[in-house]
Amino acid sequence: MNKLIFKSILILLVSCSSVSIAQSKLSSEEKLSLKKIADTIDRSILTKEAGWRMKNKKTLGNIAESEWEWGDRQISVTILHYSSVAEATKGLQAAISPSMGKISKENGLGDEGYVWRMSTTKGETCAVKFRKANFLIFISGGELSFGKKFAKIADDSLTENVLQRK
């Protein structure tokens, strides 16, 4: 019984901590423009994933996107910047109800992460989607191993450059 209470308190504390972090990020939103976040993630990919070349980069409203290629492999990194954690959570829910294929939770990826996979006539295709605070990151294309690597880089980059600021 005591263990259960302790566990509940711990979960509650962790939850509060998470919300607090997210809200602190929102309060410093002016300094953390989407473009800066995207640039930071792109620099990290360039540094940590040798061989990949940025093919394209653009922003549209609250969305920033970069496309990467290595040989015939192509991966796109899409960052959606929401005004609140709740909005971002809602956005992620919309992204994890695929019409086909299989989606599964990916523990340890962002605040909430998922991997989508599907068999096609051309082989397997995949997407990695996760939320970090009020950001959603979608990694699409390529093999799942690359998708996960890119997702980890983006996740780490967000942790270092966004969530540690206050």
């Binding site: 549209l60 992204a95 695929p98 068999s119 096609t120 699409s140």
Partner: protein, 530 residues
Amino acid sequence: MTRSFFLSLIFAFACCLFASHTAQAQYAEGISAITYDSSAQMIFTYSATEVDFNTSYYYDAYVCGSLYNYVLLGMGCEGDPNEDRIAEVYLQTAAQYNQGYLLVSNHYVEGYFEVWEPTWGAYGYWDPYGYDFLPGGSYPGGYQFLPAGQTVTQYGQIYLGDTSVWIFTYPSLAAAVTGVGFSDEHPLHYFNFQPGQHAEPIDPNDTDLIWLSNGTRSDPAAYTKGTKPKLFASIQFSPAPPPNTYIGLRIKHNGSPVGEKLGIAATGASLNVRDIALTADIENPDVVKKGNYTFSWEITQDGNTWTSIGNSGPHKIYWTYQNPMSPPFINKEGTEFPKLYDKALDVACTAANGESLVGTIASKINSAVYNDIKYSPAGGASVNPLSFYLIFPQGCDCGDHANLLRGLLRSIGVEATTLYLWGGNNATGQRNYYVFNDPLLGAIPVTMRVVRDAHRDGIAANPHFNYHALVSAAGHLYDPSYGFVPDQLTLTESLDIATGILGVTNKVERQVFGDPTYGTVTNIVCPHTN
């Protein structure tokens, strides 16, 4: 006989600047001419009466000229002192802009008349060519008549009539059209607007000059097909027109006048003219269209003489099927996007260019969505479906595809509805999940299998779906993910939850996506491996 002979004579009035005449028997000509030298700001006039050789045997020419500008500015009369058959009067005066000047010339011939008193007691006279019989003519008065049978030569003037000419001192205008705007157009927004380049709403107050001659702006406008747009324009004068200058503006398209506005007070060097209505179609009024139009602009001061002040355009105009519907776009989560976007009209009007039938229009836009946006059933993103035209190169889910098509159709005024479909019980909305064993990925929960050809983007034929989305419009169903018009979604497989039997074709059809987890999950496995 004498009278009829005389009446056959010709008297002509000419009001031309440099009138010429040919020698005829018994011919007199009256001339009034006026010119305006805008550089010297002077009015010059010329009045003349000229007679031909035969006439000059009996008569001398005589003329009076009077110049008016509301009041008499000057007058002069001259005979023919040189006996060269012509009497001339020249007048001149300093001119003011935008004034009317009138020259009236009174034409006469002078002659010596044989006057006598016939023996029968009546008075008589002899007017060889009978100018007095002509309209406005008269015989000389004041002469004295002599006793019967006696004659004497009497000098007198015969009034032939007046000529007159009028001129208005229009200033020389150097003008150019520097900006053009459109009124009452559909309220367009830039979808991919770049701050600093242009505003997101293209013409928020109906006052923006969306085309500028300096090249800094050239934005589109949108109207429902068949509309005759109303324009406004900025005209730059150099120098500024003098006071009381009035102009008319005319717009030509492909050489034909399509609109004009008259009676515009030209005040100042910059003139903004609103409400220039086009009165002719610049496009086929029956079709959806994306068109580019160049207008030729002209001004007039007198309503007759038109001078080019340059071209504007090309003006990009989207012609929609009907008035755009609001909100045009909605996403799977139900978020509405109320703005009418240039990108949506560009896609829709390009795809349906030149089409008038709503079914064909919808079908062509359906094909465009299929061709333009990859199909990636990975699930959507909570964004405006139009975003997939600019980002997400990996493509989008069928729900996004359907909402994209729906939004494009509604943007051009075609009513459209997104339909989400699952295998299940339509009456209760219950979705029935069973298991499809993917050879690569293992068990995947699905609700139906649908008849489809293999997809360009790698999806095998007759796939198993969690859900699928279509669009209902113009009396048809459209599947933009597959780029065709199925008219109905044919299932080959769904689950009857009560009996556990697969193979029924029961489907849930909803206009709202709703809770993605709503349904009953079973362990029933379908026999397919692809």
